[in-house]
């Protein structure tokens, strides 16, 4: 079962990378955008059925993948694969 874990900085937590990218884009002339935040996506293939896989992924997030102090996460089930 293929899953994606989307990890983003928590709302309100400073995101220096997002801030720097935002400045650079506006210097390159891009307009009409705001609030760039940078996170990451982790792909996992778990040998289990959907519900179980989501549970396992959730545990992986809490134990290792996500720094719960500064990050939020979302487990995305990848239907097509």
């Amino acid at each position: 079962m293929k899953l994606n874990v989307k990890i983003m900085p928590k709302n309100g937590v400073l995101d220096p990378q997002g801030k720097a990218i935002e400045n650079s884009l506006s210097q390159l002339g891009f307009k009409n955008f705001s609030e760039i935040r940078q996170g990451k996506i982790i792909e996992i293939d778990i040998d289990a059925d959907k519900d179980q896989a989501i549970n396992i992924a959730d545990e992986m997030c809490k134990k290792l993948l996500v720094n719960l102090i500064i990050e939020d996460y979302e487990i995305i089930f990848d239907r097509e694969k």
Binding site: P16, Q17, A20, I21, S24, Q27, L28, Q38
Partner: protein
Amino acid sequence: MKASIIVFPGSNCDRDIAVSIKKLTDLEPIMVWHKETSIPDSDLIVIPGGFTFGDYLRCGSIAANSPIMNDVIKKATDGLPTLGICNGFQILTESGLLPGTLIKNDCLSFLCKTVSIRVENNETNFSKKYKQNEVINIPIAHNEGNFFANEDTLKKIKDSNQIIFKYCNQNGEVNNETNPNGSIENIAGITNEQGNVLGMMPHPERATCEITKLSDGENLFKSISEFLL
């Protein structure tokens, strides 16, 4: 004669390189702010080490899109000698002036130590004062110095003799054990095809001083100086 040192927000070896240039060449170092759109008349462009824009997104990626870079790319393509060290090397690959890319060290951590590198090609304007295959000791200090290029690119780099430095040990042996960061074929520094743009991860400017007991970087600056005279 002048050397333009490009300063980005987050550059931090700009002073160090200026000191070495002043001491070892006839060039007068001038600092050029990244927001300028043209480089003043110069005989050499230097992109120093540091953490431009905090290394955010990808190392060197934001700097490579700074206003000054259009002119750097133009002049370097026209043949002006251009030297990028550490983060400067990363900026040169991000801007397309040099092939390949630099990814995270295989040890997954920042690494600061003095390493041995072997001179693979002493026929460039940056390396002619070294002997072919000479082993020199130069410090490295980076998190993303692991040079990577795909097979085709690597073949081109080798075919046109663009590899200038490789990581080795004191005896000049190049192998996995003497590779500090996982770089493909132990590559520590390369030029472009024309040979006028050099990018290297080790810091020659940190090896130009008796007091630190490291002086193997001096010949790099002397090579440039001799060529320009």
